[in-house]
């Protein structure tokens, strides 16, 4: 059981850290701002979530106590990540950052569709 838990912790950590890295890789290599934004808001958030989950298990394994307060950070991140992303993309739209040529559809410049 303990072994299994330990493996689970290790897995959570590796997976979590892996997702974090993938998010950052996306940030580094995707072609335009709008696409880059997807990477950290999703992958990284989930990655941290996984690591936090690992931490909960880890406390159980090593300290033998039941610790749930990592949930707080996870929940907080899940609540705030979409809003952060929204705020950032709004600023990008406001500054009319160029989107990659492959992009279909057009953003609205001034808060309303159809007015361009």
């Amino acid at each position: 059981m303990d072994q299994l838990l330990q493996a689970l912790v290790a897995l959570a950590i590796i997976v979590g850290a892996g997702f974090t890295l993938i998010g950052s890789v996306g940030l580094a290599r995707l072609p335009d701002f709008y696409m880059r934004l997807h990477a950290p808001t999703k992958a990284t958030t989930l990655g941290v979530g996984a690591i936090l989950f690992g931490s909960v298990l880890y406390t159980m394994v090593t300290l033998g106590s039941f610790s749930l307060h990592e949930i707080l950070i996870t929940v907080f991140l899940f609540f705030t990540a979409p809003v952060s992303a929204h705020m950032m993309i709004r600023s990008a739209l406001h500054l009319e950052l160029k989107q990659s040529s492959a992009t279909r559809g057009k953003p609205w410049p001034h808060g309303r569709p159809g007015e361009r």
């Binding site: 590796i14 850290a17 406390t59």
Partner: protein, 89 residues
Amino acid sequence: MITWAINIGLALTSLALLLNLYRLVIGPDTPNRILALDTMYINAIATIILLGMKLQSTLLFEAALLIAVMGFVGTVAMSKFLTRGDIIE
């Protein structure tokens, strides 16, 4: 096994932080940089939690929570600065 995983995890997050730094430096514009910083905040949470596990200490938990809060507020404020200039109006 866990120690090994934690070290790997730290290496990965460190690498992630370096990639964020790359984006921060090359930009090419402010939203991209804000995005890089925001990602850095989240990666920092991962790093802190991993560090806490490595040191078998729970003392860093509140620091991690605080990074989450402060990162959010910072990102929001910077983004609003770009769209409105005046962030408290």
